[in-house]
Symmetry: D3
Subunit: 244 residues, 6 copies
Amino acid sequence: MIELAAETLDLLKGVSTATITGILLAKKGMRTRWIAGVRPVSPARCSFVGPAFTLRYVPIREDLDSKAGLHDPDNPMRHAIETIAAGSVFVLDMRGELGCGALGDILVSRLIARGVVGVVADGAMRDVGPLSEMALPVFCAGAAAPPSGNSLLAMDVQRPIGCGGVLVYPGDIVVGDSDGVVVIPRHLADEVAQAGHEKEQIEAWIKQRVQKGAVIPGNYPPNAAVEAAYRQWVQEGRPEPKGE
Amino acid sequence: MIELAAETLDLLKGVSTATITGILLAKKGMRTRWIAGVRPVSPARCSFVGPAFTLRYVPIREDLDSKAGLHDPDNPMRHAIETIAAGSVFVLDMRGELGCGALGDILVSRLIARGVVGVVADGAMRDVGPLSEMALPVFCAGAAAPPSGNSLLAMDVQRPIGCGGVLVYPGDIVVGDSDGVVVIPRHLADEVAQAGHEKEQIEAWIKQRVQKGAVIPGNYPPNAAVEAAYRQWVQEGRPEPKGE
Amino acid sequence: MIELAAETLDLLKGVSTATITGILLAKKGMRTRWIAGVRPVSPARCSFVGPAFTLRYVPIREDLDSKAGLHDPDNPMRHAIETIAAGSVFVLDMRGELGCGALGDILVSRLIARGVVGVVADGAMRDVGPLSEMALPVFCAGAAAPPSGNSLLAMDVQRPIGCGGVLVYPGDIVVGDSDGVVVIPRHLADEVAQAGHEKEQIEAWIKQRVQKGAVIPGNYPPNAAVEAAYRQWVQEGRPEPKGE
Amino acid sequence: MIELAAETLDLLKGVSTATITGILLAKKGMRTRWIAGVRPVSPARCSFVGPAFTLRYVPIREDLDSKAGLHDPDNPMRHAIETIAAGSVFVLDMRGELGCGALGDILVSRLIARGVVGVVADGAMRDVGPLSEMALPVFCAGAAAPPSGNSLLAMDVQRPIGCGGVLVYPGDIVVGDSDGVVVIPRHLADEVAQAGHEKEQIEAWIKQRVQKGAVIPGNYPPNAAVEAAYRQWVQEGRPEPKGE
Amino acid sequence: MIELAAETLDLLKGVSTATITGILLAKKGMRTRWIAGVRPVSPARCSFVGPAFTLRYVPIREDLDSKAGLHDPDNPMRHAIETIAAGSVFVLDMRGELGCGALGDILVSRLIARGVVGVVADGAMRDVGPLSEMALPVFCAGAAAPPSGNSLLAMDVQRPIGCGGVLVYPGDIVVGDSDGVVVIPRHLADEVAQAGHEKEQIEAWIKQRVQKGAVIPGNYPPNAAVEAAYRQWVQEGRPEPKGE
Amino acid sequence: MIELAAETLDLLKGVSTATITGILLAKKGMRTRWIAGVRPVSPARCSFVGPAFTLRYVPIREDLDSKAGLHDPDNPMRHAIETIAAGSVFVLDMRGELGCGALGDILVSRLIARGVVGVVADGAMRDVGPLSEMALPVFCAGAAAPPSGNSLLAMDVQRPIGCGGVLVYPGDIVVGDSDGVVVIPRHLADEVAQAGHEKEQIEAWIKQRVQKGAVIPGNYPPNAAVEAAYRQWVQEGRPEPKGE
């Protein structure tokens, strides 16, 4: 797996998904990196950055006793939960199924114990009341009490999956915030982190100008003159910005 | 209507919908008891237990003056609201219609006065701002200001209905919490309440073990050894649980 | 554009969308004035009244460099933002597209600086975390970080549009509250405001009666006797209302 | 049930659903009489006129053995099939369910034997291969082999239902052709049949004019002059029509 | 892989999917074996029976040059097409994607050359005009000209997949006819084939009775007396059946 | 409007939409040129090529009497039908509305008289029985008898529109066949026509090779050796192709 620059994950913690998706479009022509249809269980806990660890579900068949399998350490769900590395984001391909909840408070407790930093699923979760008070950011497509065996069967661990319309390879860098979740191809993460860090800074400066009355054309996106003004302001030690 | 055991409703107040749906699947092979697509108007007020009282809507026809009918005590909506028994859950088959709100603050005020304990509708509600501050838990599929006469006509009281994909007979036991709403067939309510009460207790004990570092396989779902450990722990007077 | 009565906008600030849609149905037979599928970014900030200023989007074409165009004052998005009148509601026809966010915190900052009182879009917004803390009520169909150029192109300013299934002419009066958003045809705004103001008053009186135990039939909607009682109560100087 | 004029059903056999829906909109302001989402099993066999006979389905519950019930003459499905009057259109409220087929070749054979003239269902049918070669026009929302017990339970016979978004009362006049299915409220059937018969005649005359080069404005819909020309042409014994 | 009885595939050629799904429900309680949302490209060519050979797609990423990979024999799509066994049914998990066509006339020509007997995909096909005149039954969810690289990437060969909501293991027996497609778990295929063969025969006899006027109750499903009459008729050498 | 090369439209008549979309993706990175969700009214009549003439609809408002407006030559629908140039494809932005039919047999008769070569609408048509026997290829999203005034109002002629998710400028070249409809940006039409013409020829040659047993890898897409073999075959006067 491609090695990331040491500062990449830290830099990304300060970059919004709006900025990341903007860079992926403008610099790489990528329009397919945004996970559709997921929301945080707790709006107060929605920021995370980490590499993807993937689990793929398929539909059930009534005669496959998923419960018995849960005692088996080779069961894909159990294997995933007990082997996922600390710092990972657990990404579940649930095929958009909303009739069952993949994870409840006991499994999320275990993920927290294992050091997982985020969960993203294009299906539902259960026990969302307790989950909303736990420390782990969880993005999903809904709440549903029935256990996953109601409609889904865990099948593959660490294969490339689709989640919310996005191709996710194990190790891709997954970033979440209040807008939702973006998946950065691993080989682009360093570049996106650097560009994102810079863009966040100039946009904060632009936002202040706009709040003081600057017009949008020229300022956002910044034209050459505004970019030069920004660079001079940085050189001058970032004094309080002025309006237009 | 089948008589319930005296403690059933009280026991169910301590059982989550996640636990109930798990029991209905594991013990009865039932996968069709979860009402799809409803959320509480107020997340802070979503727990209830009670027997279903049903109302069925059909689409409108423009020349049927629903307003005049509202003065008529035989109007199904009026009849329902003025005959529903205290302790009931009012369940509305709105056919997934989101273009009108079935109940607003005046009708909900009346339901509260009549002792209703919950409302579940697979359509929208109106006045959701005021509703979110009223004492009655209301689950619905959205908010819509237009009156129900905009697209729906109340037709039948206390007939079996579909709501969110679930067959609901009058008298079925309806349970809501932060995940959503499950409908227990009335003849199974006593059994589900007992089994649910026991499962909540062992799962609370398991959750504590997992939070202290226990692995999932073996513990959840518990194998025979873990179940024995739980029973011994109960016999010992429930001392503080240990990790794996 | 038709002149409104001086008090119309102020009166409408005290009228709920539930009341307005009820009047449009009962008095005008209008069932198509409710914007479907939009929710407030911040539930705490969802009330507004003002005339519509419209922007129409179309799908993208990959070779149209929308970014370059943003420096051009004739760009429809830029033109809209820099010409919208104070007091307006900015209404966006996004064709239900959820794969990009039309406005983020910088553009909304500019709209606030220009005196806009509300935003309504049948598509997504970006930067919804920051937006939820800004002063402007924003209704939309979701959150999405990707910039609008990911899937939409701004095309027309101040043409009649569709938004959430509703025909919106520039100048129509748009009203939002916790239920959502209704669009009053401009030529009906004065009449709806007057009727709505009166209906709010009698319904507040009815609601109190119902909370004290009055039955629904006869009281809501009020029959002639109840309406007479209300008028007498007004004449008597509005003493504390009695139950049925 | 309201008595129809003797010629009404025969007149309607010569009127298209396009003409009927046009009259219901123009003369009655009715926009809710068109059954959404149904197509004929056999495009070659899609024309019918008759009064509705209704059956309502609800979702299944796994422990209700629908099969045993099929021997019971009180079973709603059996009761419907064995009591439906010759000349009726069998209208099924399947709640849009596409996971099972309500009727197969044996039940349709029985409906033919009983003299039914059409079937309309907002759900699926099974055995659509054989059905497409049988004499009865069947409109439905899809094909699905699983028996109805897979997901639906027959509940009520001859109650008002919704079908494809339309309120259908038993006895309403249902008309099908290659466009689909319209439901005429029974009390309007005589009037619609008369108006439809006349409109078909003038539109046939207009169509010929347009095919010979007449412009649309003035001719369609016809202005007063064109209507006068039509009436004169009728008085003159309907000679070959001329172009514009 | 479980060995099938020698006659199983031949028997299944004479059993409809309606009969098979009925048996799977009645004898095995299985409600999840029907592939949702697929239709034959050519209604005249829709019958097939064979073991599943599976291919799994995931969403695209713009920088993965799928075209270059097509020359690589390890490319999953190429590998699938060049290794699929004669007699197989090619089943594609396209995740419901309708924006591209997985197979066109050249690839289908190759599948025919390799002896494939059916294709089932929960996504679209391209070149459906030519395909509709080719000898291979193809079931899909629509037509779309863009190549699969427009939105999908082939990922896995011969893994268990979901297709139209159904879990499909390689080797499961897939049966198609004019209703659509059912997937029989391989270990049940012999039993279903035998039971289906018998059920087809009695239902043909029942259908003739019903066409001659027999009522549904008692005859369909057959009660004990009717089943006995059928067995006697078989013993008597199957003379022409009589009405009720 | 950009002038097309003289042979472009004729060349495109021999190029499939599968080939065109493949070229737009491979050469221009365009994934957004395929109109989603439309099917031909008559599968036997679905091929056309021509420049787009656009009409935009918005939702209705009940008090706008669309009928009166139809006599007005400035009515957008009338203006469109009476000014559209011979050879054009009439493209309608109906916003996916399926509750009304935009065109019936009289208006289509007029379009034929005016020399229109195709119709594409992301909504429904009416009179589809008669339409299926008329000479004009019509692609739409369904059939619906109610007149357009049931839910839509014609608003703009010859503005850029969205149709089935595609941005269509007046003058873009629209091509239809049995797969559906693709929109070529006008400035790319000459290039796409030339490349498409060549690709059709080599793919016909490849298809014959595959039908004679050639494997897919190497042949499709052709590698350098196969392309060279094709060119030599052309130079040799196109003798009967050989297998692999």
